[in-house]
Amino acid sequence: MEKIGVFICKSCDIEKRLNIEELEAVAREQGAQSVYSKEFLCSKEGRDFINTKIQEDGLDAVSICACSMRVNYDVFNFGKVAVDRVSLREGVVWSRFPVGQNGNGVDDSIEVASGVTFRDELMALAKDYVRMSVAKLRVYKTPEPFKPEEEISNTILVIGGGVAGLTAALECAKAGYDVIVVEKENELGGFARRMKAHCETKPPYKNLVTPIVNDLIKEVEGNERIKVYKGAVVTKTSGGPGLYRVTIKQGNKEEEVKIGAIVLAVGFKPYDASQLSHLGFGVVPNVITNVDFEKMAVEGRFVRPSDGAPVNSVLFVQCAGQRDENHLPYCSSYCCLASLKQAKYLREANPDAKAYIVYEYMRTMGIYENFYKTLQDDPGVFLTKGDIVSISEGSNGKVKVVVDNTLLGEKVELEVDLVVLAVGMVPVTAEEAVLNLEYRQGPALPELELFYGYADSNYICFPYETRRTGIYAAGAVHQPMTIDQAIEDARGAALKAIQCLKAIEVGHAVHPRTWDYAYPEWDLKMCTQCKRCTEECPFGALNEDEKAFPIPFITRCRRCGTCFGSCPQRIINFKDYSIDMVGSMIKATEMPEQGYEQYRFMAFVCENDALPALDMIAYKRMSIPVGFRIIPVRCLGAVNVSFVKDAMSKGYDGILLLGCKYGENYQCHFIKGSELANRRMENVQETLQQLALEMERVTIDTVAIDELEKIVNKMNEFAETIKTYGENPFKGW
């Protein structure tokens, strides 16, 4: 950008603590064409003032030196004019305070080193920020929306014709989109079609209803926008969102269709009960699964499989393999409800029959507590917590069950006609690739080893989203869930698929950076085919050609910048975020001479959690060391090692990277970013050691958005540690 305007706000304590004239001077020195300061830039008058000056001075970029980029982003939006925000308020005057000997706040005029006051340091910080902003805008290029050459498809593919799939298909069709449903079996309806009944999906959540999937089937089959392929599977999925080419195989016939977005609703399979011989399955006669019992209920005959004698007592074993590290380590969420439902079948068929339910935890999701209560009130339903000790043959064809740790306070032995094992859910994706993606990273959705094969990604912030952009999971393939939840889940996934198509049509990122028009661009002339970008992309956005050059699929990209961070050749850049840009920002700061008693630290801070946390620190007027310069980054994965090198050679005494937690309970918005950054920084630290520098000078830390105290302490500790090592010896080189 050529014509850069700098606007400095005087309000919110900025003028009180900073010398505005000096800041204006710095902006001019740095090459800003116009520099103005005014009170309340965020007011209507302030905005009008900026608009007028843009017109009068013909500005193509403005630096708003006022509050954090996380607030007033709608106010400081000037259309095509590039905007950078300098956080003088949150970043400087509200979060940096001098502290006296006794820990109390003191005046800015306090001397922090010989001849240096706190105000001098505060001004140095504010000036650096202004310089960085101008330097940034100088290399900034306006992003253009991404427009693929090929025509975008607006058809939504739904894989799976059960409750979730049919609901998603109907929702998309109702919103005006063409839908293709691919069902593996010869009939629509999925698992629910084979049920006698299920719990109602509306208040009061107390009764059983005939499976609502029958209505969904009728509705789908009568909908003109929905094309159904029964007895069909997806054999190949190539391309990316908006541009998918999907091969559907029906019988011997293969057909390629163009698809915009995909809802994955392939559901679950019941856990393989043959693994449950310790619970008597396959060993003791009359031990069956809840799936077998449902079949009995549909047929309307409750008899013992061994001898056809009528069933007068049933014992349901909850968590038959669930929540067990050797089988399914997770709760399948529907099984308690299913057993209660099946107890009701039995009790309605035979009022003298007894249904025992032995559970570890009775879990009926949401308001299905009401259904549990209804069954609890039935005098013939006997519930207890307990551990199954043994299931063996009893007298007269009965099954003998020994249960310990019961609520009755003793080890008990029961003889029943039938034992029903409430087996859990295994997502279809745990065993099959289903989508058969033609992606460099493999045909299936990547396994995070956190979700046991479920097609889930960031459950905290982005439900429905898998780690493949444009593919949204719904129903029991997404998480273990009930029919009621699957319906809601399918609606959410349908909405996400539609949002995806809209985003691609407009030309910005699908999510989570939904506003972001910029996208990574490769300067392949310099590419060494090292494959780091194609391997590390958390979303599999890149394929490779036969020579291992990356082939980017921009519609798959989420703009996290992990590729940018990974590239040793620094050939991957965004229009508005580049190696050159961050390098220029670091260079623009002023580094004091060797021997100045004040240290300088550089912090690269993730915009998703750590930066908002820093803003909250400011709102609480907590204090972080004044020596820290903060550069927000889209993800720690987008920190190229060159930033660290630049900062070290500039003379920064220490470099801190603050990102999101990774591993189990990860919070990284881009799933792998902070983890990859951590690995890269380990390499950097090795290099530091080789240079005889302390490896702690480059430190990475993960924080959650609410860990304000922890962040303050970390930053202070970091500063103190670095001070014990002395100044960066490269200062002033």
Binding site: D378, F382, L383, T384, E410, K411, E415
Partner: protein
């Protein structure tokens, strides 16, 4: 209990029975044990009512029979009030006591008549027929009930040895002494059964299984002291209001028992025949005081229960209501006899009132083995056992230490 395994076959009929006598909420309990935590009477070593709730849910008759906790509960109502699921453990316990009563006492059909509304007319009829038969026999034919000079104050007298007894006294003695004998026999039998199950359930060593004589002398007296003082009852939280009227009612009964005994000795044995002067005779006054205490107590309990229902700490089911109103009727008809006898134009109706009073008293006697009134005996037994058990626990502990 180590490796001992309890064979279980849930008893659906027992559950339904509990539900039919006021415990309809029993199945709601989800075993959170809020009840046991808030109960002011629950002992730390064997807390209740959480465990008894699941035993009741599964229909464990025997386990409940052998558990004194059922009777140590005074229905304070704190459990019911604080139960998050409104499973009403206090009310369920009341129904468990009825179930246990039914299990322990023979002629179970009488228990059913006492605890189901449709049984009331049958009970009234039974007692009336018995009283009528013995009236007809002693009064030498059916007297005119609307002529007080014919009934009860006829001039038929019986000479038995040195005694000269009027017909009504003979009739009352025959009916009520045999009724009392019946009640004593069945209850003694029931108490002995109960005691034995308690001993077995708690595995009391043979050395500590004392004779009844020793039990009575060592533990019954302190137990009765405790009961008369209402020291457990007064620990109640939500329903603490019950302690005072119940105490008055107990005093009323004791005074009336003494009165009746005195009359029996003075009139039937010494020969100072009634009617006595209602205004001057000291035994009469003793009876009035007893009657007033009884009425005060019972009215206090009835009105208190209405208030307690508003704060959801107590429910009055049919067996409760039956006993309350029966006692009230005993009191009212008792006083009515005195009044009717003293007012000339009502005098001839005295016979009718007298008969009604006798019916209510008959039902009250028979209520001891067959209704909620059984707590008079069974709770006393449980309290005795509680004191006994604590005492031998102490002894066992000190012998362990030595």
């Amino acid at each position: 209990m180590g490796e001992q395994v309890l064979k279980v076959d849930a008893d659906l009929s027992a559950v339904k029975e509990i539900q039919s006598v006021g415990g309809e909420t029993v199945k709601r309990c989800y075993q959170c044990a809020t009840c046991s935590s808030v109960c002011p009477l629950s002992p730390d070593e064997a807390p209740f009512p959480r465990k008894q709730m699941i035993l009741a849910q599964w229909g464990f008759r025997e386990k409940l029979l052998s558990d004194p906790s059922i009777w140590l509960c005074h229905q304070c109502g704190d459990c019911t009030r604080y139960c998050p699921r409104n499973a009403r453990p206090g009310d369920v316990f009341a129904s468990l006591r009825l179930m246990v009563t039914k299990e322990l006492v023979p002629f179970k059909f009488l228990n059913t008549f006492y605890n189901q509304p449709w049984g009331l007319p049958i009970l009234v009829l039974i007692s009336f027929i018995i009283l009528f038969i013995f009236t007809a026999l002693t009064f030498k034919g059916v007297p005119n009930f609307f002529d007080a000079k014919s009934f009860p104050y006829s001039d038929i007298y019986y000479k038995i040895g040195f005694l000269k007894l009027p017909a009504r006294v003979v009739m009352i003695d025959i009916v009520f002494l045999s009724l009392a004998g019946f009640v004593i026999v069945v209850m003694a039998n029931a108490v002995s059964k109960m005691w034995k199950t308690y001993l077995d359930y708690y595995n009391i060593p043979q050395a500590y299984r004392y004779s009844y004589g020793k039990i009575i002398s060592s533990y019954l007296i302190p137990a009765l002291k405790e009961i008369i003082n209402h020291s457990r009852f007064e620990k109640c939280g939500s329903n603490s209001w019950r302690a005072n009227p119940h105490k008055m009612l107990v005093f009323g009964f004791i005074i009336l028992f003494i009165t009746t005994g005195t009359v029996f000795i003075l009139a039937d044995i010494v020969g100072m025949h009634t009617p006595w002067n209602p205004l001057t005779h000291p035994v009469k006054w003793l009876g009035y005081i007893g009657g007033i205490l009884l009425l005060y107590g019972i009215i206090g309990l009835i009105s208190g229960r209405n208030k307690a229902e508003l704060q959801n700490s107590l429910k009055t089911s049919y067996p409760d209501r039956f006993l309350l109103w029966l006692i009230l009727f005993v009191g009212i008809t008792g006083f009515a006899i005195v009044i009717f006898r003293s007012i000339p134009f009502l005098f001839n109706l005295t016979g009718v009132i007298y008969m009604i009073h006798l019916i209510t008293v008959f039902l009250l006697f028979l209520a001891i083995p067959y209704s909620k009134f059984s707590h008079l005996v069974f709770r006393t037994t449980a309290v005795v056992f509680d004191l006994y058990y604590k005492d031998i626990q102490r002894k066992l502990k000190s012998s362990d230490l030595s």
